[in-house]
Symmetry: C2
Subunit: 376 residues, 2 copies
């Protein structure tokens, strides 16, 4: 290899690792002390302009297509300036998608072209076109700007595709710059039961729960130990598609938001809620799947939250705006104006109306108090 070739090679390696480093390490904003996550649930994208909307008013029908879904996500990105966009499954509605890869590319294009890091998990419809669940997740992992992963490298056998975690580090230059102060867990909640005696939707399996449990324990050890040992675990958030059976524990007296349909969880309880309570770091769970539910309710220290339906080629309710959920974690301001650990985690929803109206704001967790307060 000549000198020029070596230099080119070194520049290439340098760029690659810089790009990878930039892509892989999520971090709180040094100006605002915030980390902002936009959750997009159930886009149900199919063939773009050719794919008509469902459950909109008759007068909207003629001009309404998947492009309305695209327009909504573009407006949200501009308005909320998220640091991460999370797609919680049924990103495409495979049954109506002529080509899974093209549909996925089109559905996720607003995220890709925004240059904002994004992560996705699978729903129960993503594999209904030409790609298997493994195939569709592999396709996602190969897309630009994504932090999605196929599965954890350390878990040799794990159920599903798209089980991974992301660390969000403290502000660059602060004492927690090299620590994960907010942990994001992504899991594949599957599609349909393949157990003959159990009808209905799939669930999170023991292999996934053990991976989650060990990952959480490892992250907590690292956070509580030197350097910069912290007193309690960093808060965690979990994202997946199908709600847990525990989502059925609420009614309007103890949740914020709306419940307009039943909880389409698995028909059995696979124990993941118990596993999360035991781990102790997860403060909120965010799912999709039931488009007409958009509530958050707290049970045993964990908020169970729906995002509400996002996509226009998905069942919904005419007059009940498509919506998305924002989560913003904020750091504690320290002496000398630097930033510390996470102080609070807030959430609200944005409606696809003229003003992208924000509703149902609430504090999900705060360092000083677990008391729930209404923000707006």
């Amino acid at each position: 290899m000549g000198t020029v070739a070596v230099v080119i090679w070194m520049v290439f390696l340098c760029c690659c690792s810089a790009a990878q480093g930039q892509r892989r390490q999520l971090r709180f904003d040094g100006k605002t002390g915030e980390f902002r996550i936009l959750q997009v649930a159930d886009m149900h994208y199919a063939d773009g302009k050719r794919t008509r909307c469902e459950d909109v008013f008759p007068q909207q029908m003629a001009t309404c297509s998947d492009l309305n879904t695209t327009a909504f996500i573009r407006r949200l990105i501009l308005a909320e300036k998220p640091d991460l966009i999370v797609f919680t499954g049924d990103n495409i509605f495979g049954f109506d998608a002529t080509d899974a890869a093209s549909s996925m590319n089109a559905a996720l294009e607003p995220a890709v072209s925004s240059n904002i890091p994004w992560a996705a998990v699978l729903g129960n419809h993503d594999q209904e076109s030409a790609l298997s669940r493994e195939g569709v997740m592999k396709h996602i992992v190969g897309m630009k700007n994504t932090l999605s992963q196929l599965n954890p490298p350390e878990a040799h056998v794990i159920d599903g595709y798209g089980n991974y975690n992301l660390e969000v580090h403290g502000v660059e230059g602060s004492s927690l710059a090299n620590k994960s102060v907010l942990n994001l867990y992504f899991l594949d909640s599957g599609d349909y039961s393949n157990v003959p005696l159990i009808p209905g939707y799939d669930w999170i399996k023991p292999s996934q729960q053990l991976w989650f449990q060990r990952t959480s324990a490892k992250l907590q050890r690292s956070y509580l130990n030197k350097p910069e040992p912290q007193k309690g675990p960093a808060p965690g958030l979990a994202y997946f598609h199908i709600p847990l059976p525990e989502f059925a524990n609420f009614d309007s007296s103890n949740f914020t938001g709306e419940k307009q349909e039943g909880i389409s969880s698995a028909s059995v309880n696979s124990g993941f809620f118990t596993t999360m309570v035991t781990a102790g770091d997860v403060k909120a769970v965010f799912t999709g799947h039931d488009h007409l539910n958009d509530f958050c309710g707290e049970l045993t220290g964990i908020h169970l939250c729906y995002a509400g339906g996002f996509g226009y080629h998905a069942y919904g309710k005419a007059g009940w705006a498509r919506r998305a959920r924002m989560v913003v974690a904020s750091l504690e301001k320290m002496d000398k104006g630097t930033w510390g650990a996470v102080k609070s985690i807030k959430t609200w929803k944005r409606l696809d109306d003229k003003h992208l109206t924000g509703i149902d704001g609430e504090v999900l967790w705060s360092k000083s108090s677990r008391q729930k307060r209404m923000l707006r």
Copy 2:
């Protein structure tokens, strides 16, 4: 080493491996084609003769002690001639036991001296004396004639102490002599929750469920593959102490036996029932813990059974006899008079009365039909 020493050494090795072989390999009886399991739940043994009975009639009190528990198990062994005795926890009532090891030795003495193989798991009271849960399980594993194991050697990290499985092979000389035709799973259901936000009893953790799942899968592969490939999985039975939350799904309309108190399961669902239904081989679960419940009910293809309280130094009900549960698996009779795979699994209970009255007999599983039939 001289010749004599070598011969002695060889004899010693030979005896050891024969003894170990005899101890370790459970097998169906060549004459009857049966394998008989006696379940003893909640002996609550403490200091023997000095330890008084609970909840017996006033006139019995003066002469009633732990020795009544011992006498009951001796009579049962003589009457039922079990091939395996299973102790499903709270074998000793640690709080009243001066010395855990001595109490355990005394409690299990009838099994040890019978020369019948026996297996034990821990309840929530076994560790309340001088030994920890690990210590008390290690003590059990070191006792004579036991097949109990501390934990599976292949699961490097597993919760609890006393998670293991036992294979029961077909009749010696038959085509299934080297196959496990009945699989027994033993699990540690723990004692009390150590999660601050979850009150009450403990539960079976993801690490234990994954071990169970993999063990079941391995056993099924081996059973369905050559040599002598079988068509469906061999039936399995699971033994542990604390009932699952799913035990609460029954009432007198859909169980056999009695329910005289609430189901003291963990206050959360850790998914083990789902994991067992998914595995597909377990036909029945046998627990103790709630002394006044002795029912069996079927849910999604799995019978959930209590044994009923056995020990006299345990809460109970005067006039409601202490009791134990028998399970008998029977092999199919083949052409030429040999024995095949398991044809049926039956259960009944024996009361500690004059005639050791048998009650509530039922078929838990049969190869040809899953229909429940009453036997007696």
